[in-house]
């Protein structure tokens, strides 16, 4: 993000709050998601004078501000910015901060704080934000003097976006907001205790290349590191040179187009069977910007034991954390992949690639066909997802909530463009969907943003419909309504003797709610109406809620039960 200050500014005797505005402009910030309150009022007062330059979106709950900033960051590749008040404002933001930490999303969250003289006294709306957020941020810092504003903001942005991205919290004491300083823009180019990207070791690259060159059955795992490193082209060059098939993690989806021949599909618990089976058959496994989450690996004791493992990552603490690697290549994959590609011999693995087909066919026959091509009975989640995807020419941004809707969306949405998936992977936060879709649409105004959300998750951040209304944010919300906390019900059906403890839900008139917020809405229960409503929804760029009453007791298959060997797959 380029500085939006002209460089000629020379502001004498301004408040810390105004210095914050200038510092944000200096970081190139255009959009802020936030919510005011007592301890942040000086900042909001300063913002009043900067409304032209800084687009502040008033959300309806601070959790919404953080998820919106995440959605914004994920589609733009920039840092998402939030401003919230102290105490409850800050604690409401915790879920999004934790989510951003798990999913490596760059955020700067500025919280109001009581004045320095009141710190530690249990003052009204005082919470020890720095310590509460310490384990779920890359950095959290309390600004206690106006003099420190420019330094802290510059450092916050540097930390949030460099290396493995993540959230930063700035706890802004009220006295620092009102204290007077002479403003000098500050820049952070270096922190002596933090080297975001370390030099790749050439010996490791050579070792990895030797392994890949002699491999008969190489297999690559693509994670979000590829998208974060903007290394999509480098990935393809790598895969194509040695003809290596690849699977993707939930957050790695859309780094390769869905129909790209070397893209063999999703990994993990609800992934494709071919990718999971081949993980345990390949001879060299190349993990690229991913962290071997347990939802991907299943039982570690039986995970890819036959393979030599190469791990490329920017974060050294990921090496050997879950899976023991044979060769660890540290660095941004944008730099390390080309170095590796250069040392590869051009190769083909026709038989190995062809061997995926048998499993793809089996999955199609037992799972996919039923999910996408049923013509009678209830509408299924998968077919809704595929129809919306295709109606948007497979060019839309997919945002999901959490649950069956998320897994179905990941499985059946199709992608032709990168940076097109916004979902809560590591934390699995219900309620992520609506605000994240808002942020995604604000960040990518010219693209169609389709949110798939369950009836449960929709009601966790339903108040953000107010934000959609106020700012006319044209998100397409597809509510996959099964009147259940579906994913929990699925586990109850499979592992808890169908004892549906607290999972059925009595739901309101969702369309009525949307209309009360001035949002167009339609509800469908049959296939003919579904098709016309999708067309209606996508006909313009306005917000739309499409409630689809789907099969109440639908199941997401394939499924590897938690903690099982990744090849122990339930197909029905």
């Amino acid at each position: 993000m380029k500085s939006r200050l002209s460089g000629t500014e020379n502001f004498k005797n301004i408040t810390g709050s105004e210095a914050l505005m200038l510092s944000l402009l200096n970081e190139g910030v255009e959009t802020i998601f936030g919510y005011p309150g007592g301890a942040i009022m000086p900042v909001y007062d300063a913002l009043y004078d900067y409304q032209e330059q800084l687009n502040h979106i008033l959300v309806r709950h601070e959790q919404g501000a953080t998820h919106a900033a995440q959605g914004f960051a994920r589609v733009t590749g920039e840092v998402g910015v939030c401003i919230v008040t102290s105490g409850p404002g800050a604690t409401n933001a915790i879920t999004g901060i934790g989510d951003a930490m798990m999913d490596s999303t760059p955020l700067v969250v500025i919280c109001g704080q009581v004045g320095a003289s009141l710190l530690g006294t249990d003052a009204f709306q005082e919470i020890d934000v720095v310590d509460v957020t310490a384990p779920i941020t890359k950095w959290s810092y309390q600004i206690r003097r106006a003099e420190d504003v420019t330094w802290a903001v510059a450092r916050a942005f540097y930390i949030a976006k460099n290396g493995r991205p993540g959230p930063v919290v700035l706890d802004f004491a009220k006295n620092a907001q009102v204290g007077k300083i002479d403003f000098q823009p500050s820049e952070c180019k270096f922190i002596r205790s933090y080297q975001p990207v370390l030099e790749p070791e050439s010996t490791k690259i050579a070792e990895a290349a030797a392994l890949i060159n002699s491999a008969k059955k190489p297999f690559a795992l693509v994670g979000q590191g590829v998208t974060l490193g903007k290394a999509e082209n480098e990935l393809r060059a790598f895969l194509e040179k040695a003809d290596i098939p690849a699977g993707w993690t939930l957050l790695g989806e859309s780094a390769m187009p869905t129909d790209y021949p070397l893209n063999k599909g999703m990994l993990g618990m609800h992934g494709n069977i071919a990718t999971n089976i081949k993980t345990n058959e390949c001879d060299v496994l190349i993990a690229i910007g991913m962290r071997f989450d347990d939802r991907v690996t299943g039982n570690l004791a039986t995970y890819a034991r036959q393979a030599k493992i190469i791990h490329l990552d920017i974060d050294p603490s990921e090496f050997n954390k879950n899976v023991k690697t044979d060769v660890a290549i540290l660095g941004n994959v944008k730099e390390t992949l080309p170095l590796l590609t250069e040392m590869l011999q051009p190769n083909t693995h026709a038989d190995w690639l062809a061997s995926f087909a048998e499993y793809e066919e089996r999955e199609y026959q037992t799972v996919t066909k039923k999910e996408l091509e049923s013509t009678d009975g209830h509408i299924k989640m998968g077919e809704v997802v595929r129809k919306v995807s295709e109606a948007a020419r497979n060019e839309a941004i997919l945002v999901t909530d959490v649950g069956q809707n998320q897994m179905m969306a990941a499985r059946y949405f199709k992608f032709t463009k990168t940076r097109s998936v916004v979902t809560s992977g590591g934390l699995g936060t219900m309620g992520f969907g609506i605000p994240a879709a808002i942020g995604a649409k604000v960040g990518a105004a010219d693209r169609t943003v389709c949110l798939f959300v369950g009836d449960g998750g929709f009601q966790m951040t339903i108040q953000e419909l107010g934000t959609i209304m106020q700012y006319g944010i044209g998100v397409k919300i597809i509510l996959l309504n099964n009147s259940y906390l579906g994913m929990v019900r699925q586990w109850q059906e499979l592992f808890w003797n169908k004892r549906y403890s607290s999972t059925p839900m009595t739901n309101p008139d969702f369309c009525g709610i949307a209309r009360a917020y001035g949002i167009k809405a339609a509800e469908v229960s049959d296939r003919v109406a579904l098709n016309t409503s999708i067309a209606e929804m996508l006909a313009d760029d306005e917000a739309f809620l499409l409630v689809v009453n789907v099969e109440p007791e639908g199941m997401v298959y394939p499924m590897t039960p938690a903690g099982e060997t990744i090849t122990n797959i339930l197909m029905e």
């Binding site: 720095v130 310590d131 310490a134 384990p135 890359k138 950095w139 959290s140 810092y141 309390q142 930390i159 180019k189 270096f190 922190i191 002596r192 205790s193 933090y194 974060d315 050294p316 603490s317 090496f319 050997n320 954390k321």
Partner: protein, 182 residues
């Protein structure tokens, strides 16, 4: 996996809240901290933490990587005892009349190489430096003979036996980079 005592050395910026950041990493991995000692290092503005803990090497490695990753940490590494020269200091408060009942105070002082820090008619304070086992041995002997009114032992301090001073080199390097970029 084999549990062993590891010494973790951490160099950090002197920013508030760092101790909390470090200790929660141990807590998350369910490791108890045995000893902890913090002080300014030889380099101005940089603090040094020395922590000991029992764990498997695999786990200690992960914890150290996690600590090293924190922004304000300059460097974290771990060692086993054989790689270190290490020391602890212990203070013992004893009732002077009890002490005087001992046949030979001199024998005790020589045996344990004790330093006397305070002596008055009510109490005496001994200081002993050494390895944990040594300070413990004295504690045991005093407890069984004259009794101990108060006892305190510091955390371990340690210096590596390595012939190359990688850390100083690294810090010098960082300092150089710091000067050229800012």
């Amino acid at each position: 996996m084999e549990q062993k005592l590891y010494t973790i050395t951490i160099f950090s910026e002197n920013t508030p809240g760092l101790l909390n950041q470090i200790t929660i990493i141990f807590t998350r991995r369910q490791i108890n901290i045995e000893t902890l000692s913090v002080s300014p290092s030889a380099i101005e503005g940089i603090h040094k933490f020395t922590i000991t803990a029992f764990a498997s090497e695999d786990l200690i490695q992960k914890v150290v990587q996690q600590i090293d990753k924190r922004i304000d940490i300059l460097k974290a590494y771990y060692n086993v005892d054989e790689e270190l020269v290490h020391q602890e200091i212990a203070l013992y408060k004893i009732a002077t009349p009890e002490l005087l009942k001992l046949g030979s105070v001199e024998g005790l002082i020589r045996k344990y190489d004790i330093k006397i820090l305070e002596l008055n008619e009510t109490f005496t304070v001994f200081e002993k430096t050494g390895h944990h086992a040594e300070t413990q041995q004295l504690f045991k002997e005093l407890s069984e003979t004259v009794g101990v009114l108060q006892f305190i032992r510091s955390g371990r301090v340690a210096i590596t036996r390595s012939k190359v001073e990688r850390l100083s080199d690294m810090l010098a390097e960082i300092e150089k980079k710091c000067k050229t970029t800012s």
